[in-house]
Symmetry: C2
Subunit: 166 residues, 2 copies
């Protein structure tokens, strides 16, 4: 496999994986492209390389910045903006963990706490409460795991732990 083939395969694979996780293809492919780019790219570059429109590029570049996965880079003497991805992959993972926790886990924990506290006067209500308590446990585990990723400055500690389960 040549480098060009590998690059295409990576961008394509990343785009496909992303859709399974509720992330749109353009955004994932943009991220993939910037991840492997040795230099910062201008909007025009990504438009051309991924064959997407200016509007699409602009919106998804912004979303990626909101996620903290890419940065704007200003080049002296250049008017247009360049974009560069965060290259420390563990930092990327921490960032994604942080955002997903904030956007998805935290709100769910709150709803579950609310639902847990109805009074269980009927059998149905009792069963319901049992399920809510169980779910709180699992969601709490997910929350802790994301926290583990977020807080692990080094990853050897996590590595040590995970050996236990192999």
């Amino acid at each position: 496999m040549t480098f060009e083939e590998a690059k295409d395969k990576f961008i394509h694979t990343w785009g496909t994986l992303a859709t399974q996780w509720g992330i749109n293809r353009s955004m994932a492919q943009l991220h993939a492209l910037l991840l492997i780019a040795p230099e910062a790219l201008a909007t025009e570059d990504v438009m051309e390389q991924l064959q997407i429109s200016r509007g699409n590029a602009s919106m998804n570049l912004r979303d990626l910045m909101d996620w903290g996965l890419i940065y704007k880079q200003l080049k002296p003497g250049e008017r247009r903006e360049f974009f560069i991805a965060e290259k420390d992959i563990w930092k990327v993972a921490r960032q994604v963990a942080k955002e997903r926790r904030r956007r998805e886990i935290t709100p769910v924990i709150e709803v579950l706490n609310e639902l847990k506290s109805i009074d269980a006067d009927t059998p149905e209500a009792h069963e319901f409460q049992r399920v809510m308590v169980g779910l709180s446990g699992v969601v709490g585990f997910a929350d802790n795991t994301l926290n583990a990723v977020i807080k692990a400055e080094e990853n050897w500690l996590m590595g040590q732990f995970l050996k236990v389960f192999r």
Copy 2:
């Protein structure tokens, strides 16, 4: 909040959360409904309670069975099929972890291994390879975490570990 309100809120919340994770609303709501149902439900019941068509119900019930999250239950003397959800929430979590690992992580690991092994003769190719190696690490961590969930028969061990990171 009454039990009925809580029930509706749960089904609705679960449906919303699911779409953020690339799972369709009907499937998530079906699962939510069955999770909190104290008795097995027939197709008609879920059609009525969620206001969805027979075909929709049929397809998503099958998908849920494929994920190992619900079971068919045959009642003596009854011709139609009833469905009951796996009620052990940790078992549900293990099942989801197992399936996502099989469907999403394992294939990505293979692609990354393939892409890691191109020869890095140019600076671009070298950068590319560096990223692939990094990603392998992160994906490997995800794989290990899912394995931890899958293999943890008891969850106290995981609980012990996670205290370290709090």
